[in-house]
Amino acid sequence: MRDSNTDRTFNIFNYVFLTIVALLVIYPLLFVISASLSNPQYVVSGEMWLWPKEFTLDAYDKVFKNQDIINGFMNTLKYTVFGTVLNVVMTILAAYPLSRRDLKGRGVIMAFIIFTIFFSGGLIPTYLLIRDLGMLNTFWVMVIPNAVAVWNIIIMRTFFQSIPHELQESAMIDGCGNFRILWNIVLPLSFPVIAVMVLFYSVGHWNSYFQALIYLQDQDKFPLQLILRQILIKGQTDDMIQTTSESFLAQQLSVEGLKYAVLIVANLPMLMLYPFLQRFFVKGVMIGSLKG
């Protein structure tokens, strides 16, 4: 089909607009990558604006020698792995029974769960509960209070409901119990939704700092995001450089480089997973929107 004149101008405008949007989004990211790989002197003076100038891995060297960052990284890894496993198991436990139409009381239980989206006790009563349970400043507080997310139960339930009914019914006639139906029939068919859940939850764990800020006190239990906050936002970098024998100005400069490198290191797993993340996350949003 031939475009008319107005359509052609529209087209040009559209491409220009979207290109500008994409550039605005990508530029800060590129800048951080380049800044982390440059001599910090050029970053501070404004001479580095797109590609790395005087390429160096100095900043990364400092990041990987920093005990706090390594420790935070390992803590986050621990919280993310355990947390995600618990999350996915709990989501399946909730979603499968609720996807079964022959389950009596399913509407009531669903309402019981969904109600918590709209009304919650809030920060203080929850904090007091966690304190009374003796979970403050423990590993468990990073995993258990967020054991399952309502929205993800809904997504997974929607997926389970889309599995043909007859499949489960015929298994039942053959004398298959509910556990075996779930384990041998439903779960093997649910790989896509489980992958989505693993990604949803693990990105959430990796990126969260609120839980740790409220409930953790010991520095050696802090996840990476809290360490990052100390470095990037509160500017607590003194102890990282005092060991080096550089001049004051040089120290200031290396702190600059370090901040950019820390940003990259914190996102490394996400950056490497991004191609998968994008595909599965989009899929997850689609499954969720069927119901939403």
Binding site: G46, M90, L93, S120
Partner: protein
């Protein structure tokens, strides 16, 4: 009189008969549901077993705090527990309403909420509509890959980047200096806080929020467009008259959800962007609850503030949903 009673009696008889039958029916129904329940539990006991940890989790971590909310009306004393602490009525609410902070907190919370709704809500719709018009699949894929990416960055990272770029010797101020302007201290300037908050939010979320509209647009029947083209409609006219109406239900639902949470400004990002100098425009209810509750241990007072906030959120959602139902046919429930 006798005549009357005679004529009434059969009616009464009929009434009692009907009531008895109703009662019996109800009893039967009760028995029936009871039997059904027993049958269901026997047949699907495994399913109830699977649900048990989930129900326990929600009871403990979501419903018990609701029970604990009563401390908002009490003077909570840790040694006496939630039940044993003395009732004080609306004391904490009154203290909050009369406090110097009250109007500042409301103004900032509503201000940030409304500003976010006004800017962050429509931009993804425009983005989706424009992406939908791109014919080159490669270009479309490229733009999507780029704009989705910031969604995966953590709040700490986004705020960290913001602070690095906006420092007095940061990237933005270097550009300002290049054009001969005087550097601006963005981070501590109260007048700029809300804009920084909202536009960094747009940067991070616009791509991701557009996915749901892109999906809705993909479902538009192409024959509608063909028919419109034969009638001589331009691209722009087709967007206005075909695409926008097609995604209207999605827009309304998301608008309800977003408008309902105008007062529920999240803690995480505001708290990270806060500093002593911009407090006058950055202090919101959630950060206030954190400070007075967790840091200063005024449990009852901050529980009251939190309850006030969640009640408002709840009623906002109901109200917006009601309005949407009246104006449009779409609503959440």
């Amino acid at each position: 009189m006798t005549n009357m009673s005679e004529s009434v009696a059969p009616v009464e008889k009929f009434e009692t008969y009907r009531k008895k039958k109703l009662f019996k029916n109800r009893q039967n129904a009760k028995k029936k549901t009871w039997v059904e329940w027993r049958k269901s539990v026997r047949k699907n006991w495994e399913l109830y077993l699977l649900l048990t940890p989930v129900i326990l989790y929600f009871l403990i971590f979501h419903y018990f705090p609701l029970y604990g909310l009563q401390i908002a009306f009490k003077d909570f004393i840790a040694t006496k527990g939630i039940l044993g602490s003395p009732w004080v009525g609306f004391k904490h609410f009154e203290r909050f309403f009369d406090s110097y902070y009250f109007w500042r907190l409301i103004k900032n919370t509503v201000g940030i909420g409304v500003f976010t709704l006004a800017v962050s809500f429509p931009i993804p719709i425009v983005l989706a509509l424009m992406l939908n018009e791109v014919k080159s699949l490669r270009f479309k894929k490229f733009v999507q890959t780029v704009v989705y990416a910031p969604h995966f960055l953590s709040t700490v990272v986004v705020v960290g980047m913001l602070l690095l770029f906006l420092k007095t010797d940061g990237l933005i101020n270097q550009v300002i200096r290049l054009f001969g302007g005087a550097p601006i201290d963005f981070i501590t300037e109260p007048a700029l806080f809300k804009s920084l908050y909202v536009f960094s939010d747009v940067w991070q979320t616009m791509g991701w929020s557009s996915i749901i509209y892109i999906a809705a647009l993909a479902a538009v029947d192409p024959s509608q467009h063909e028919a419109a083209m034969i009638d001589g409609a331009s691209r722009f006219q087709r967007i206005i008259h075909i695409n926008i109406p097609a995604i209207m239900p999605t827009i309304v639902i998301l608008f309800i959800l977003n408008a309902g949470s105008v007062m529920a400004v999240g803690f995480e990002k505001v708290y990270l962007m806060q500093n002593a100098l911009n407090m006058s425009s950055s202090d919101v209810i959630s950060t206030f609850v954190y400070r007075s509750g967790i840091l200063e241990a005024q449990y009852s007072f901050s529980a009251a503030v939190g309850l006030f906030n969640s009640l408002i959120n709840f009623f906002m959602l109901i109200m917006v949903n009601h309005i949407a139902k009246k104006v449009n046919e779409t609503s959440l429930w």
